[in-house]
Amino acid sequence: MTPDDLPTPAESAAEHRVRSDPHAVAMDALSGTAAEPGSAKPDPILVADSVVRQFGGLTAVNVAHLEVQRNSITALIGPNGAGKTTLFNLLTGFDRAEAGAWTFERRVISGMPPHRVARAGMVRTFQLTKALAKLTVLDNMRLGAGGQRGESLWAAMARPLWRRQEDAITARAMVLLDRFNLAKVAHDHAGTLSGGQRKLLEMARALMTSPRLVMLDEPMAGVNPALAQSLLDHVRALRDEGMTVMFVEHDMDVVRHIADWAIVMAAGSIVAEGPPAAVMADERVIDAYLGAHHDAPLSLEEEEQRLAEAEVSMVAEAEAPLVTEEGGTSGS
C-alpha cells in the first residue's frame, strides 16, 4: 500500500467530524487522554484489568489495564509474539486467562464462553480467515444473524415459523454483500472465493451479528493493495456508523492512516499508547520493534538469529491453542 493514496490523519479527522458526530466526540475525548500505557478514557466500551495468560513458563499476556474508547478505531500493534492475538482470544472468550477481569459496556464478560461474548455485541474475526467453504456466501452471511427462530431444533422443522424472519435476514445480508462487492458471488460456495474476498466476507459476516465492538485480527494480512484500500474504507465506515473497532495490524502505514488511537504491546504487556503518529515516534516502541541497540549495524549472524527468533515467535503465535468455550483445547 502506498501512503500517498491515503488521506492524512488531519484530513480524515476533519472529514469525519463533518460526517459523524459520535466519532468527533470520541476524537475530542481522545485528544484529552494521556498518552501513557493503560490510560483512562472518558467513555470506554471495553475495560480490562490485570489480564494474565501463561503458556507453561512463558507469560504470553500480562496487561495491567486497558481501556478502549467508544466509537474510535483502536489499533493494537507490536512485534511478533507480543501477545496481541492471545489478548484478542482472551477478551473474546476463545482462550482462558489465568487472572484478570474485563467488562464490555460495563457488563462483566471475563470467563464468558465465546458465543455469549458475541451475543453481548463484541464480535471478532480471525487472523487465518474462517470462511465456511462448503456453505454459500449467502449462507455464511445468514449464519451471522442472531436470535433466529429457525435455529432452535423444534421450530426448525416448521418452515412457516421462521420463513419471514429468514427473508428479512436474507435482505439484510444482500445489502451488506452489495456494500462489500460480494453480491454477484452470493450463491457461490465460499470456498471458491479469493483470499481477499474471504476477508471481506468474514468482515461482512461479523456485521450480521449487529455488533457494537468489532475486533479484527490482522484484517489486512495477505490482501493486495487495491483491496486493502477498500477494506480500510470499510473499517472507517464501521466507525462512522457508530461501531467501535479494535484491530491488530502489522502495517504501520495502515495504522497511521486509519487508527484514532494505537496501543503497543511488547512481551505481553502494553508498553505505550497514544495517537498513532506520537506512538510511532516513541523510544519504547522503536525499542520494542527493533531492539534496544537498533542503531548499531547488524552483523550477518545477528540478522540471521533475529530472523530465526521472529520465525519461532510467529510459529508460537500461530499455534497458540484456542480454548473452546468449555475449556478443552482445540487446534494443535
Binding site: 474475526t125 465456511l132 462448503k134 435455529e151 418452515r159 468449555e326
Partner: protein, 331 residues
Amino acid sequence: MDWGSILTNSLEATVGIDAVYFALAAIGLNVHFGYAGLLNFGQSAFLAMGAYGLAVSVATYGLPFWAGIAIGLGLSVALAILLGIPTLRLRADYLAIVTIAAAEIIRLIARSVALEDKFGGTDGLQQFSAGFYKMNPYPDTHRYGIGTVDFDAREFWVITVGWVLVTLSCLVVWLLMRSPWGRVLKAIREDEDAVRSLGKNVYAYKMQALVIGGVIGSLGGFVAALGKGSVQPDLYGTETTFLAYVVLILGGAARVLGPVVGAMILWTLLAFTDSALRQAVGTGHIPTSVLQSTQVGEVRFMLVGLGLVLLVVFRPQGIFGDKKEIALDAR
C-alpha cells in the same frame, strides 16, 4: 446358471431387512458425520440400544412391546448424552475414540456370562416380537410382492414398518437440514470457532445432532431385532458401524437420500455376488480348486470391497455427492 433366481435374490436384498436397518443406521450417521462432522465410530451401540432395549424389556422383564420401544429410544438418548458430555467439548478425534470404545463395552457387557440371565450371553435373546406381529395387518395366507420378488406376511410387515421409518427419518433430516438449524450444523462441520464467534452455542448443537442421529440409529436396531426375531451381541460390533460408513460414503454423505440408496446398492451387490458365485461354483463354472462354496461369503466381501475402492478413486463424492464440494477441501 439360473439368472432368474440370482436376480430375485438380489432384488429381495434391495428392499430387505438388512438394507432397511443399514439405511437407518446410515441416516443417523449422516446427521453425525455428514452434516455435523462428528466422527461417531460407535453407531452400532445406538442400534444395540434399540435392539436390546426392546428385547430385554420384553423377553427378560415381560414388559409390553411399546414399553420396550420407549425404553430403547430412551436408552439411545441417554447414551448420546453420556458420550457427548465429556467429548463434544474436545476435538473431533476424542469422540471417535470414546464412541468406538463405548460400543465395544456395550457389546461385551451384552455377551458377558455374568449377565447371561438378563442379556442372554452370546446366544442373545428371542421371543420379544409377539406384540409386534400381533399388529400385522397382512393375513398369513399368501406371499406379498411383485412377481418372484416376494415375502411372507411376517417379513412383509417388518419391511413395511421399516420403510415407513426410513421415509420418516429422511423427512425429518430433510426438514432439519434446509432450516437455519441445519445451516448452523453444516457450519460447525466446516469450522467450529467461526460459528462460536458468531454467537452460536456449538456444544448444544453438536449434542442435539448426536441425540437425533443416535435415535435414528436405534430405529435401525428395532428393525434388525424384529426382522431377525432375535438379538445377538456380535451383530452390534464394529463391523456394523463400518458397514454403515460404507453405506454412507457409497450413497454420498450430507445428502438426504444418500444413505438410503447406499444401503440398497450395498445389499443388492452383496446378494448378487453371493448368489452368482454360489451358482457358478455349484454348476462348475468356477472349479472347486479355485473357490469352494464355503468361501463364497468371504469372497463376496472382497469383490464388493474392490468395487468400493474403485468408487472412492473415481467418484469420491459418492453417488449423490457434489464433486465441486469435494474439490473445495483441497484448498
